[in-house]
Symmetry: C2
Subunit: 196 residues, 2 copies
């Protein structure tokens, strides 16, 4: 229907998660109306992430340098390691401006359903990294079945090394209403109650 | 937060209509996981639409050749011209496989609100194009205020040239329920009733 170069762009947009035929068409047509400069820098940004970005050898975060900006930051507390599933979770944690330790990205979660085993994840490098200087490893995987399984596994292997292993808290989200919370969340909220 | 090349890609995705910070981030991270080949062809497609695509001088459709594929198609009825707002509408019409005439793309609609006047649109080329050989001009602009205004204006200027001007039908959409249709649609559906 459309000229082939436009069809190819529509196809490319369909690679994106949750983008169907209609949205892909809308995005591609929007690019036609966009300035040449914007489209060129879009294309350049795409090429750049494949050529410039690499994985931080320490924590698995993305970086353009030898180490990621967090691992390279001397002002951070390198004795506290927060273990997350993906780099997206680092971004979420960093937005809080609260956590001053470093991270470790698993690049996935253990899943018997999907056949993902501990050895498929970035776990060995975590074990290698934990030393006598490590004060605490915080397990910040998702509050899902897979996140839990992974946290339990990590707790088991890390505890052998004698390091303090903690898990982030479960409970009612801030702004959350009791009557909208599911039972499991409420059970966890009650279990995790604290003295005021 | 993210390395700068990734931030730039997130920014680029935010140019897309209806894409906010969260979706742009998701799209950019998806590109990191995508194969190098896919990302390269995505970038190439972006460059190509700016370098290869041009506007068909006859109808205003997009093309990579001198004329668009529809205007160049001798098997089509060049004496019937369907006037649409944008190239997207051509795609929608062509999907029906019903219409065999040619098109004319206005590249917008007359709008007093947005200050879009007839001279801002691709209307002069339509008037130049309509000749003695033209049997019919079908006005297929949207059923909105602006679409109507534009259709009324085109009817006025085209009728002077003595050509048959028609407007696509209004009514209940196929699969539509009477009790869900708005009043204006129902009024138009009754007005436009036909003998069976």
């Amino acid at each position: 229907m459309y000229p082939s170069s436009l069809e190819k762009l529509i196809e490319a947009f369909r690679l994106l998660p949750g983008v169907g035929a209609k949205s892909a068409e809308r995005y591609a047509l929007c690019m036609i109306d966009a300035s040449e400069e914007d489209v060129e820098s879009f294309a350049k940004a795409l090429i750049d992430i494949k050529t410039k970005l690499k994985t931080c050898p320490v924590c698995g975060n993305l970086t353009e340098e030898d180490k990621c900006s967090i691992c390279a930051d001397e002002s951070r507390d390198h004795s506290t390691i927060c273990v997350v599933q993906s780099i997206k979770d680092i971004a979420a944690m960093e937005k809080t401006n609260e956590y001053r330790g470093v991270y470790h990205v698993l690049q996935g979660l253990i899943s018997t359903m999907k056949g993902i085993l501990p050895e498929d994840l970035n776990i060995q490098s975590l074990l290698d990294r934990v030393s006598e200087d490590t004060k605490e490893v915080i397990l910040a995987t998702n509050a899902t079945m897979e996140g839990e399984t992974t946290a339990l596994y990590l707790d088991k292997v890390l505890s052998r090394k004698g390091v303090l292993v903690t898990r982030i808290a479960y409970g009612l989200p801030m702004g959350g209403h009791l009557d909208y919370a599911d039972e499991l969340t409420l059970i966890k909220a009650i279990e995790g109650r604290k003295k005021l």
